[in-house]
């Protein structure tokens, strides 16, 4: 009985030590800045920024090259502000920030070519060949990847309408202090 416990315990200890050693020895150091930048980006890999995906844009930002922090259009000004905070630079104005938008297919014009379905990086468009397509609004990330491929220009980016479900309280103005 005691031998079994000792031998199994010993083997477990050896295996644990081996694993622990391997974890330290073969550890791959990721750049923590790149990781946090990537977390701030929307992960659509849409390529709107001109880089081949969110990871590449995060690496370019972290590398210290002169890369604008306002290139992520799906992330909007929120992503820009997160990037500015991580890199310790001043926020800049977004070139075009129209607030959150969502793709809308004008279904009467859609010819059912599936070009947009193939283009969508997050599978947020459903439809079949020669059938009208539609956008799953909750999944759409505002990346515009579907707009360009449409041969009949039936996709429009529309602002997300205000509703009681996405409404936010204004912050109180704070004390109005006058110094005498």
């Amino acid at each position: 009985m005691i031998e079994a416990v000792l031998s199994m315990g010993g083997m477990a200890l050896l295996a644990g030590l081996g694993l622990g050693y391997a974890a330290i020895k073969f550890h791959v150091e990721g750049n923590p800045v790149v990781e946090s930048l990537e977390a701030a980006l929307p992960a659509t890999n849409c390529g709107n920024c001109g880089f081949p995906g969110c990871h590449a844009y995060a690496e370019a930002l972290a590398s210290g090259e002169k890369v604008a922090i306002s290139l992520c259009s799906p992330g909007g000004s929120e992503a820009m502000q997160s990037i500015a905070a991580i890199l310790g630079v001043d926020p800049v104005a977004m070139e075009t920030d129209q607030g959150p938008r969502v793709a809308m297919i004008h279904e009467e014009k859609c010819i059912g070519c599936t070009a947009c379905i193939k283009a969508c990086p997050v599978d947020a468009i459903v439809g079949a060949n020669k059938q009208s397509h539609t956008v799953i609004a909750d999944m759409c990330t505002d990346c515009e990847a579907c707009v360009e491929p449409c041969p009949v220009d039936c996709i429009e980016m529309v602002p997300v309408p205000d509703s009681i479900y996405n409404w936010k309280w204004d912050k109180p103005a704070g004390p109005q202090v006058t110094i005498h």
Binding site: P121, V122, D123, I164, K171, P172, A173, V177
Partner: protein, 515 residues
Amino acid sequence: MGILATALKKFHGGVHPKEYKELSRHCAIEELPMPKRLYVPMHQHIGAPSDPCVEPGTQVFKGQLIGEPNGFVSAPVHAPTSGTIQGIEEHVSGHPSGLTMPCAVLIPDGNDQWHPELKGLEDPYNADPQAIRDKVRESGVVGLGGATFPSFIKLSPPQGKVAELLIINGVECEPYLTCDARLMEEHSQEIIDGIRIMLQALQTKQCVIAIEDNKPGAIQAMRRAAQETKNVQVVSLPVMYPQGAEKQLIEVLIHRQVPSGCLPIDVGVIVHNVATALAVREAVLFGHPLVHRVVTVTGLGIARPANLNVPVGTPAQDLIDHCGGLKNGVKKVVMGGPMMGVALGDLQAPVVKGTSGLLAMLARETVQEPEQPCIRCGNCLQACPVQLTPCEMAWRAKHDLIDQLDAVHLMDCIECGSCAYVCPSHIPLVHYFRYGKLAMAAKKHDKDKAELTRQRNQAKQARAEAEKAEKERKKEEMRLASEARKKAAAASQAGESAPAKPVPTSKPAAEESAP
């Protein structure tokens, strides 16, 4: 005696706002004449909004289903009277944003005729608990104390948990409101019936009705009605706001605190409002869905305060008109109580299941002082019934330190307003908390969506790669097949010159040509 303590315990903090209950406490409940038009919102409860299930032009009976529940935590919506559905329209709501929500517009026909197929349970006091819950669920009964949580869920103790005590909340600690007090005075026997049904659904033996001692009429009436039911007891509590809050009331009565993130059932109790008990009775005895409620219309700015029994969906303006209209100098009209209610931007906002009051407030009833800097007096810490740190929470919300709000337990705040009430600097603390709570929720939503986006994008890429690999594999297969065909053809040509021997497959042919 069970888990009910013999002495009352005081919860931490609390305040004594001026009551103003004398304005309406003597006003017996009266029926509001049927309005010309009802706007019945599709989302009157905590949980998912209901899906409208009627077409424009449909003739409906009172109590007919017009909105189907959408998920487990949801509630159906019923027609508050008989008439014609004009359509499903966007209409202003009693939401703090003042934005619209989908409402069924109902033109009453004046007959107020119940749906003929509505039936209650036979022998409701000994019925199967599940049958009671189903009845309560399909009748759209939600908590009428203000939180509007679907009641059937609070009648279904989860597996392995027992409700040792049912607490019926008749505290009505918000100033001004007297609708629950009037219900207890005028419908005490019916409330006891509802309680007996609830006890049967919960399989609980003991019930206590908690009433603050500023409602002697209600206490007397409930004591008289409860005499014959030996397991129902009425307890009179000293006045203290917010004693009607679920967790605070539990602490007062059984000396147990409900931990953060837990429910009352985790300490062995269930709390229901008195008006909910009445709605449960209507649902189980007669099959009548929850389509009307009692609303206190009061405030110094109303000509004639009243307690009105109102169909759900009645615009606030109709109630005010019935009570003689607004006086000059009304600063704001509040839906709900003065401490936790919402100021209305548009008086067309309809009464919903959770509307307990409509207050027309003059300037002297409200505080409109400008916010001043925090002087670190600590009054808010003394007043908070949840023992939070309101000044710290507001400071973090003000400076958008959203990630730190969890550390100061913002989500445990019940938004009772005690802190803002005592703040000498008039800091709108609850406003900061609401801002912070929504900011936290928005941040979580964004994070969840980013994670989902990442997963979907990875899934799409993996699929694209799998498709590519599949194409490659097919290409390779076709290449191999065509090569094999070529070889076979070559072999058969060679075979024709050699002595006649049938070569059915390419394999022996290859063997022959190999040497």
